[in-house]
Symmetry: C2
Subunit: 306 residues, 2 copies
């Protein structure tokens, strides 16, 4: 039976209103709260450890698979393994996400390892949103690990967002690109209060004509702190671009430590990073249009993280 | 008595032809080959360890101090400490540099620690060139460490160049900027053969309105490898910009691992890095003008490292 809390979390993290269309698996408080396979997408529970296997048949096009996780009780700590086997010539969307509602004193924590095996010429759009709420003193912690292997000609577009309310996160992302494969990662991250966030990322451009692009945008408010370690490694003729932009506010701290490594003459790698506060003239412009300073700030941050 | 080797090295590393004008100290094969103080610039040998103290009187403007080091015999390994005490309101030029001519089988090595204490509102232009030659199998090694403390309103423009012929180098640079102080570092580095180079740099923007700028340009040829660790730390209202561009050739490897750290909302920090090969259309254009491929490459590299 879905509660108001469940509904609110599922909408926040997976844009779900009501039962999803297509394949889905809803994990709630370490149990399965609903699962549906389709003709092309088969979801089965793992037998040796928590988590699921998602098998997508070759040639599956235009289908979506939702696999949200919600934690609504304090004191739940879990480690989940989800493996995705995606056949050749697919074009699919996978919507993950995790929401923690914590009204208690104990910590709630979700750690997940997602491993993707993406077959030749397949395209995957992977979306992952993280969100926490509840007025308990217990921490809301998420440590997602994402590993992606892209075969020849395969691609992944990975959009991850930490919306707000996550006290501590350590993100770990590794993508290995084969010949002609492409990874485009867009990371959005907001921290506030005393939150801490670390994002470790490695894109290995192994195959000829592999492409990697990372766009990381973050906002650190209050006394929160963020550290970014994006790494791009070129082992072949390839193109890699990393772009990190951060807005710093209050007494926050941000460190950005990217690395580009060229192990081949034909590797072309670029990195850009910037940390700064909201531009004063942008605020002023919005204030002259009638917005309060707070509204103007909010408007700029929304645009930046959109 | 100056030999042809001495003259050639001194011209390469310090643009010196004949005796320098103004204060100078020439270090040759671990001994003093000439020293001159002036009314405003006093050079004295250290008594407890190898090296010199350079004291520049407050208000010294338009003077130059040359302190080149040459090693012409194989098997010399030295560690030298040079300290610069620069009074307030100076505007001076310091020309350092090290040349190693090695015709033997033993390694020649110069390690130097240069420490600058730059008084209020003083401007220092510091030039340092490194060069090695000689047909011996013995290695030519240089490990320079440079530490600069800039008082309020002080500035340093630091131009360092590794021309060629240095088999192994580990560069270590640390600059601490006080209120309104400014550091502008331009680093040029060429490696070839099996050479290795590492450059570690930290600019700490400690004072309000401190500014830091790093421009690093490098070329890695043959099987050489380079690693860059430029770090910019903003602890106050400040502006920092790091820009690293590298040209990779042959079977070389380059890693660029910059870090920008904002510990203050008013810190504005930017980093850019790029690694790639020489643009094909640039080569083509020069070749259509009648240059051979080699000449065209050479021309582009000269421009890039100029």
């Amino acid at each position: 039976m879905e509660s108001q809390v469940d509904r609110s979390l599922l909408e926040k993290i997976a844009d779900l209103i009501g039962k999803p269309v297509g394949a889905f698996n809803i994990r709630k408080d370490s149990g399965c709260d609903g699962r549906q396979s389709t003709e092309h997408i088969q979801i089965t529970g793992k037998e040796d450890k928590p988590g699921i296997d998602i098998r997508i048949k070759a040639g599956t096009v235009g289908e979506t698979c939702h696999i949200p996780v919600i934690i609504t009780k304090p004191g739940i700590e879990e480690m989940v393994y989800n493996d995705f086997y995606i056949g050749e010539n697919c074009d699919v969307e996978i919507v993950a996400g995790c929401g923690i509602h914590n009204c208690g004193a104990e910590t709630s924590r979700h750690d997940g390892i997602h491993t993707f095996y993406v077959g030749r010429n397949s395209r995957v759009h992977y979306t992952e949103k993280h969100y926490g709420d509840g007025d308990g003193a217990g921490g809301r912690i998420m440590n997602p690990q994402t590993v992606v292997y892209l075969e020849e000609g395969a691609s992944i577009r990975m959009d991850t967002t930490q919306i707000r309310g996550i006290d501590s996160t350590k993100r770990d992302t590794k993508i290995v690109c084969g010949k002609g494969a492409e990874a485009v990662i867009t990371e959005r991250l907001l921290t506030h209060g005393d939150q801490v966030a670390e994002s470790d990322m490695e894109i290995v451009l192994d195959g000829e004509d592999a492409k990697g692009r990372v766009i990381s945008r973050s906002v650190a408010q209050d006394r929160s702190s963020q550290v970014f370690y994006p790494r791009m490694v070129g082992n072949a003729q390839c193109f890699g671009h990393v772009q990190c932009d951060s807005i710093i506010m209050g007494n926050a701290k941000i460190r950005s430590i990217p690395a580009i490594t060229a192990n081949c003459t034909e590797a072309q790698l670029i990195h850009e990073a910037a940390i700064g506060k909201i531009a004063g003239d942008q605020l002023l412009k919005l204030e002259t249009l009638g917005l309060t300073e707070e509204e103007a700030e909010d408007c700029i941050l929304k645009g930046f993280l959109a």
